[in-house]
Amino acid sequence: MNPTANIKDYFDQAVLPETKGKIGSLRKNAQQLYTRLGIPTTKQEEWKYTRINGLFSKTYQLTSDLSKVPVSSGDIDALRLPGNANANELVFVNGLFSLELSKIISKDLIVLPLEEAATDEFSETIAKHLGHSGHYLKDGINALNTAFVQAAAFLHLKKNKVLEHPVYIYHFFDTRNGNTFSQPRSLVHIGENASMQVVETFFTVGTGESFTNQVMEIVVEKDARLEYYKIQNDSSESSQVSTTHIRQLGKSYTHSVSISLNGNIVRNNLNVIFEADHCESHLYGLYCLKGQTHVDNHTVVDNVQPHCFSNELYKGVVDGKATGIFNGKIFVRKDAQKTNAYQSNKNILLSETATVNAKPQLEIFADDVKCSHGCTVGSLDEEALFYLRSRGLSLDQARSLLLQAFAMDILENIHLESIRSHVSSLISQRLEINEHDRIRDDIE
């Protein structure tokens, strides 16, 4: 471990170790970019509402050697997600991928350290896709991850295979010996006509602060399918910039659900790039925030080719002094005729001190397209509260039911049942809903 006085100073002066080949040149370019751009500030449009430079003036530990982190399989057991017995499990500790702590049960899924995969049959795939997110996220924070990429993971699902076991990805941040700064990196390649489900979540262990700058790049080849679930319910001392960058090829299909509950400063970038025709993507998000939690969801759907379909629904319940930000971009390029792109963002504010900023951005350069967007910010519907109370429900119960009902159309898009019920109970805890008032399906 490498305690440093100030993480920004450290990166500004860091000397990159020599890495050969594609990864090496990618890192070198990224470091130059980082040096040029620095940490994004609120003066930049994309970072207007989310201030992260304060996080960079703190002291963190940097882990470069996994063997020096005392995280054991036993530590992880306590935190595994439900359904894990039937899942492939990938473990990152302080940003470094640990093959040793991971468990791969599907033979059609190849999981390798990225450096190792790059020297092998996957070198071309990696050369083609690694770092693609940098074309969309032209900022110092994305460059920082790429510049210092180490112990990254590479996943490949063989073509024509339907992965029967989902992939659970756990990110552990061990702060038992002080604050940690982590930069997990992964590249996922889903072969033609293959299909997989990915669930990703984050745990800070210990009472220190964790700060994570994560980049995950996913390639969904022709006719392939991806379901991706991100669950953020880490400690209030955890901050992260979490990027998921998805490239879709012909007729591929993706479905993502991002759940943000607890954390300090959380910035999510979700990019979906339709690089071929007839792609489809569904993007769902739910943030239930209170305390001082700040969650910023930036999404991009880029229609490069014609006949693609996207539907996006992000919903937020914001209480206390929390802040929820939604920024949804839809690009329709000149050639992307017959695009169908829909977007909606709905928010409920539960306190006077809660904040929501919502901004849809449509940039359309084709003429034969169907696009719509809408955004609402309001409080709980008084008329609905009265209706429920007039049937004998207390005010608290009525509120609970309305909030759960509000979250329902996101929740029901989690198709993995064990994960859905897990998230449902996390949401209830977050919204302080009594066990007694939880909506259940036991009578249908």
């Binding site: 009265f386 109370r389 007039s390 049937r391 004998g392 119960q397 039911l401 009578i443 249908e444």
Partner: protein, 254 residues
């Protein structure tokens, strides 16, 4: 059961109810008729406890208790039920789940054991048959995308499930065709007994062909200006509301 005395209520500076007096006894059916905007829904809402109305004068006693002091939920638990003129749509909340919560909250208040899934299903089956509602409607989210008639049917179903002592029905007949009206009326008639009472707000007298009221009251401009037997409804139907406006000379906006 219910005694309303000199009730005045309004919103902000607007006076809507300007002195309502009404006495309802167990076993009775009262109909309130009147032109649009006369304050019928306001009266119904005030009785159910809608909080955005301000009560400026008068009292409402329900089984000896001050009804106006009670929260909407306590009124429901004490047996007051309002069938809404415009039932609310709540996407994401299954109708069945909602009704189960409602039934069990009311049971809890009365010191009864909550119904388990089996007991609840049994009660539901029985009441579904009574009010002629389809299971498929009840497994959908509450009122979401229901037609006008389906929403009204759902209100009647909830009423059957909750077995109120005082049922207030706000234009449950509006927008329904004659078959649907007959079903609503039938359900209400089956639920009538000597221990409960019904306050029927209606714009038209045709519902009263099927539910025979003991009293008919005509409301106009925030007051009950005429009360009588069921024949009054027929007279209104024949002459229209204008005859009321002419017959009663009212002080304009007090």
């Amino acid at each position: 059961m219910l005694t309303i005395k000199n009730l005045h209520a309004g919103i902000e500076t607007k006076k809507i109810l300007k002195g309502i007096d009404l006495e309802i006894k167990a076993g009775e059916v009262h109909a309130i008729m009147g032109p649009n905007g006369s304050g019928k829904s306001t009266l119904a809402s005030v009785l159910a406890g809608r909080e955005n109305y301000e009560i400026t004068e008068g009292s409402v006693t329900y089984f000896g208790k001050d009804l106006l002091e009670m929260s909407p939920e306590d009124r429901a638990r004490e047996g007051v039920f309002l069938a809404f003129q415009y039932p609310v749509e709540i996407p994401g909340l299954s109708t069945t789940n909602f009704i189960k919560t409602s039934v069990n909250e009311i049971r809890k208040y009365r010191g009864e054991e909550p119904l388990d899934a089996v007991g609840f299903l049994r009660l539901m089956k029985e009441k579904m048959a009574l009010v002629n509602i389809d299971q498929s409607l009840l497994s959908r989210p509450l009122n979401e995308g229901f037609s006008g008639g389906e929403k009204k049917r759902n209100e009647i179903f909830q009423m059957a499930m909750l077995q109120p002592k005082l049922a207030i029905m706000d234009e449950t007949d509006s927008g329904l065709d004659i078959d649907a009206i007959r079903i609503v009326a039938n359900s209400v008639n089956k639920l009538r007994n000597k221990d409960n009472a019904v306050l029927l707000v209606t714009h038209y007298q045709r519902l009263l062909d099927y539910i025979i009221p003991d009293f008919v009251h005509v409301m106009y401009n925030g007051r009950i200006v005429k009360s009588g037997s069921k024949e009054l409804a027929l007279e209104l139907e024949e002459k229209g509301y204008d005859f009321i406006k002419h017959e009663v000379s009212l002080p304009e906006e007090a």
